[in-house]
């Protein structure tokens, strides 16, 4: 009975959705890492400068 059931093909939208999640989250993590690295370098430089 169920074998004739039509399931819409929306797989491309699902892939697009999970790509968006991946890009947004990894982008934010990258920005955190870059900002931390840059700020930490400045922190180390200023500490050495003061000592």
């Amino acid at each position: 009975m169920l074998s004739g059931l039509f399931v819409p093909d929306t797989v491309n939208y699902m892939i697009a959705g999970y790509l968006v999640v991946g890009v947004m989250i990894s982008g934010y993590i990258m920005s955190l890492v870059l900002r931390w690295t840059k700020t930490h370098q400045e922190y180390v430089y200023l500490r050495e400068d003061q000592n």
Partner: protein, 235 residues
């Protein structure tokens, strides 16, 4: 200050693992919904990212109240970090909703109550970041931000209840749906497990990101003090 706490490393591992398990549940455990097809699987992370967005705005409002009461700059850093993370997650939820809507509603966007209020919330908190950039004095900036985060939060429950109070095509999966809603479905047991696990995974992930963001904020504050010291020494 710059040494990473052991508990944070554990939280990093735990949140990464939970997100991976959530992805596994979505793709390999939750069944395909027959009326809308594979795109329904977007729903699990759509709700989870929206939930984290709202959670962060609540954290920012709470941090605002505590800052105004205690005046400790750590609470300002917490509120700022929470808003920054939540903006990313809430925007992700809006984009995911739009991608889901295209095959189901036959449009990327429609000005119905849920989408409209969600867009307003996103803009309100984007303005929070602009406000912070416009105030130079750290104490004034923290005070204004705290008050803004408290009042801004009133827009968040409005978004949540909009689909339960107003006539809308947005489906209500948990609770009773409006008769006009399109694309709704009943969750079976594997769907519920995947849904609630995704919510838990994103909540842990949010806590992890917030902790990292607070550390960054504190490090920036220390750099600022060192800069001022270096400047006054040079004079």
């Amino acid at each position: 200050m710059t040494k990473k706490p052991r508990l944070l490393s554990i939280l990093d591992g735990l949140s990464g693992l939970m997100i991976l398990v959530a992805v596994g549940l979505v793709f390999f455990y939750a069944p395909v919904e027959v009326m809308t097809g594979q795109v329904q699987k977007v729903f699990y992370f759509h709700v989870a990212t929206a939930w984290v967005g709202m959670l962060g705005f609540l954290v920012a409002a709470t941090a605002g109240v505590v800052y105004l009461h205690k005046g400790d700059p750590t609470w300002d850093i917490t509120g700022h970090g929470a808003v920054e993370i939540s903006l990313i997650f809430f925007l992700t939820a809006i984009i995911l909703g739009s991608i889901w809507a295209r095959p189901i509603w036959n449009t990327w966007w429609t000005w119905e109550p849920r989408l409209t209020t969600a867009a307003i919330v996103e803009l309100i908190y984007a303005a929070y970041l602009l406000l912070r950039q416009g105030v130079d004095d750290p104490e004034r900036r923290a005070r204004f931000s705290a008050i803004y985060a408290i009042f801004g939060f009133f827009s968040v429950p409005l978004t949540f209840i909009s689909i339960r109070l107003l006539r809308t095509i947005h489906p209500v999966v948990i609770g009773s749906a409006e008769a006009a809603s399109q694309g709704g479905f009943n969750m079976d047991s594997p769907m519920k497990i995947t849904f609630f696990f995704s919510l838990a995974a994103f909540s842990v992930f949010f806590a992890d990101l917030l902790w990292h963001r607070i550390r960054l904020g504190k490090l920036r504050a220390e750099v600022e003090i060192l800069r001022i010291n270096a400047y006054s020494k040079g004079e």
